[in-house]
């Protein structure tokens, strides 16, 4: 039985196909569309997933969407009612999308992928929880999900046992750890939903001198990890900016503008919010451990990508084992939704995983054969060498040891934001300059961004303070004391100055606070990649290599051979490994035009498509009938204006029908004008509804029942966690959009 999970329309859209409970494919749409964090319907991801399984959409038994649109819509309405009459500019943008697409997801699925069967729905946090528990190595585990917001829930906890999920409590919007972190991401001058990693990477440069202010003014943190945001400092309820002027006053001035210089203030703010989030997450973990009395923990949701906080949970010993879904953000919702249907809706039994996860190393995306690689390289007249199987790892390791930056493309691509050795840039961690070369010359990104290490699983604790495997690069650990170098006092030294410090035996992957986002690798999960690190160790005595995602700033990780080759020729990568072929930059002559040819071949033809001409004719027939009738009415009443005006439009209609090719430009101008007028009319209608329907109802609610959403901390209550109406959605509700 095939089940297709879909997540889209918020951020990081993705598709996942499972067969009898086993994951066949899971991939984000951004990898195909080349738009980072693409939120559009994952039509390419679905197409790939079906191709991977060798089936068509007609073979799919269920399609499941990862969210409950009616609940989310209710939350959005109440959010606007809390701030009305403020919020109009966002209302007029958001409402049409909901009224046209998001509420009618079945129609969109039908339209985009021609699926005509039943569409099921899982709750957003159920999708996250399922994505965390079902692929985990545990038969029984506590589950925590934390993100920006789903429908109402912004965090939830419960437990999984066998095939069952039980949800105990939730934290509700607008009280959200994810939105809190995003607000600070915005304030420190990074993009919300993509800059959170950057702020996390910036935090070690700062001192948490604002932590107490955040805890005193911005949030109310209870002992059980539940929080309330003081909305006096935020602006997101009305869909405007994340933070307001009052917020800025607390943090010594306005927000940093995008791409302007990062100052010590931003570093201190980043350090402060990171410390706060760690405290929240640790308190939550402690509370959940007390409530569930379980020793294993599964985590998912966007906040689960905060690997520093994850590392703190692990090192705290609150839980013996933790497992984090590698695609912890919304993309992973597609996987969780599909698995939830298999286990919860269909009632299938989950066999005890006995300590082995079923995520398959998260290598769940597209792959390419050697023949495809060679065909591409030959057609591109690129100079390459075939790597003999026996020497493949050694040759690549030698390149790394010779301080070459290698683009490594091998096997199925990773599902989730981390490159794990299938689409990676790899380098020598022993050289400090590797970090600067990769950031400044290859990835063209901020110089402060840390690089991650891949370490042989059996040697991990020799280099880092980590006792458990971290195959998905979702745990941060300190560099082992024995590998550190003595450090000078760095107070007052600039970012660049601090970057230039040799901190350990592997300085390129040692952050300024000696931390590292560790990926452990073993020979079972990815033997090819393991072999390279092993050979590197033989050559150099160092069991660690640098691993960072194979992309440049602002672009998704490379997906295809073309993407990888394009990145290779346009950056300062020295070597490119495409499956069993290796390319050296110095051997390539003129490669860029070929890529341009490829891009050019994909460009849209300039001739007018047949379908377009059909549209023009259809439009002409309509114009002829409508304006012809009005023209006749003019003739009947004997009025000059309708006769001439509608007569002219009727004749245009005839022109559209008879000469569609020649009238195409007129048709385009007409449509553009129509769209422009339409937008303005829509704005007026929606404004009217906002001021004359939503606002009065909001005022009535305020007078008779208070604000629809909580906006201030409540010191009287002990917890902000809310009990759920039911421990998990019933089977019947899988069919409902709520």
């Amino acid at each position: 039985m095939y089940i297709l999970g879909i997540s889209c329309y918020f951020h990081d859209s993705a598709a996942c196909l499972i067969k009898d409970g086993n994951v066949i494919a899971a991939v984000q749409e951004e990898r195909f569309s080349r738009v980072k964090n693409d939120s559009t319907f994952p039509v390419n991801a679905v197409e790939y997933s079906l191709k991977e399984a060798g089936i068509t959409i007609n073979d799919v038994d269920y399609v499941v969407y990862y969210d409950k649109p009616l609940q989310t819509f209710e939350r959005i309405l109440l959010s606007y009612m809390t701030v009305a009459p403020i919020g109009l500019s966002s209302w007029v943008k958001v409402l049409p999308l909901w009224l046209k697409y998001k509420l009618f997801i079945q129609d969109e699925i039908n339209k985009e992928i021609n699926y005509e069967g039943e569409v099921l729905f899982t709750e957003h946090h159920e999708s996250h929880a399922a994505s965390a528990f079902y692929p985990s190595p545990f038969d029984e585990a506590a589950i925590i999900t934390i993100d920006g917001v789903g429908e109402w829930a912004t965090a939830s906890y419960g437990y999984g046992k066998g095939s069952e999920l039980t949800f105990l409590k939730e934290l509700h919007y607008p009280d959200s750890v994810g939105l809190l972190y995003s607000a600070f991401t915005y304030f420190t001058g990074f993009k919300v939903n993509s800059g959170e990693y950057k702020m996390m990477g910036l935090a070690p440069y700062g001192k948490p001198r604002f932590k107490e202010i955040i805890l005193k003014e911005i949030i109310d943190l209870k002992e059980d990890g539940s929080i309330r945001l003081n909305q006096a400092y935020f602006d997101f309820l009305g869909g405007g900016h994340m933070t307001n002027n009052k917020f800025a006053e607390l943090f010594e001035g306005p927000k940093r503008q995008l791409d302007s210089k990062i100052t010590q203030r931003e570093m201190d703010i980043a350090a402060s919010i990171q410390a706060v989030v760690e405290e929240i997450v640790l308190k939550m973990a402690k509370h959940v451990a007390q409530e569930t009395k379980l020793k294993n923990l599964c985590i998912a949701g966007g906040v689960a990508l905060n690997c520093v906080a994850n590392g703190k949970i692990l090192s705290s010993g609150i839980f013996e084992n933790i497992w984090i879904q590698p695609a912890a953000g919304d993309a992973g919702g597609a996987l969780g939704a599909a698995l939830s249907v298999w286990y919860r809706f269909l009632g299938n039994t989950r066999t005890n995983p006995n300590g082995n996860d079923t995520q398959k190393g998260s290598y769940l995306g597209p792959s390419f054969s050697n023949d495809e690689v060679k065909e591409f390289l030959n057609s591109n007249s690129s100079k390459y060498h075939e790597l003999p199987k026996a020497d493949r790892s050694r040759i690549i390791a030698e390149q790394i040891a010779n301080n070459k930056m290698v683009g490594y493309f091998s096997g199925r691509s990773e599902f989730g934001p981390r490159a794990l050795g299938a689409r990676s840039i790899i380098g020598d961690p022993r050289k400090l300059e590797t970090q600067q070369t990769i950031n400044n010359k290859i990835k063209l990104r901020e110089s402060f961004r840390p690089l991650a290490p891949t370490v042989l699983e059996e040697k991990a604790s020799e280099y880092f303070d980590i006792e458990k495997p971290s195959p998905y690069m979702l745990l941060v650990a300190d560099t082992a004391k024995g590998k550190r170098l003595t450090q000078k006092d760095e107070d007052g030294i600039s970012i660049q100055g601090r970057l230039n410090q040799n901190r350990s035996d592997v300085p390129a992957v040692t952050h300024v606070d000696y931390s590292a986002r560790v990926q452990t690798i073993n020979s079972n999960t990815n033997p090819g990649y393991y072999g390279i690190v092993k050979e590197f160790e033989k050559l150099t005595g160092c069991a660690v290599i640098v691993n960072t995602s194979f992309n440049i700033r602002g672009m998704p990780i490379v997906n295809t051979i073309e993407d990888a080759y394009d990145c290779f020729v346009r950056s300062e990568l020295d070597v490119l490994v495409l499956e069993d072929c290796i390319l050296y930059k110095e051997e390539q002559l003129s490669v860029t035009p070929k890529i341009d040819d490829i891009i050019g071949s994909k460009a849209k033809p300039k001739t007018i498509a047949k379908d377009n001409l059909k549209d023009v004719r259809k439009f002409g027939i309509g114009a002829f009938i409508i304006f012809g009738l009005l023209f006749s009415l003019g003739v009947y009443t004997g009025k000059a204006f309708p006769i001439y005006f509608f007569g002219f439009l009727t004749s245009l209609g005839v022109g559209f029908v008879l000469l569609p090719q020649k009238m195409f430009v007129v048709y385009k101008v007409w449509m553009k004008f129509a769209k422009f007028i339409g937008k303005n009319i829509n704005f007026l209608i929606l404004s009217f509804v906002y001021y004359f329907v939503v606002t009065p109802l909001a005022l009535a609610k305020l007078v008779f029942g208070g604000r629809p959403l909580p906006t201030k901390p409540d010191k009287e209550i002990a917890s902000y966690w809310k009990l759920r109406a039911e421990s998990a959605q019933s089977k019947e509700r899988f069919f409902k959009r709520f």
């Binding site: 609940q71 009224l99 409508i626 304006f627 769209k675 339409g678 929606l686 109802l697 409902k736 709520f738």
Partner: protein
């Protein structure tokens, strides 16, 4: 299209019974009426003819 709107309004009613927020029903009905207007005025079938008259 009528069936689509009828279905979602009924599902909203069922949902508000579940969430006990009946008072949101009028706003939802008004929004769907608006959405019919929005879709009509933006649809390439009728809209472009209407604009020519203004």
């Amino acid at each position: 299209m009528f069936k689509k709107y009828k279905m979602i309004i009924l599902e909203f009613w069922e949902f508000f019974k579940y969430s006990k927020r009946y008072w949101l029903m009028p706003i939802v009905v008004i929004l769907f009426l608006v959405s019919v207007v929005l879709i009509t005025t933006e649809s390439s079938v009728i809209a472009p003819y209407i604009y020519a008259m203004f």
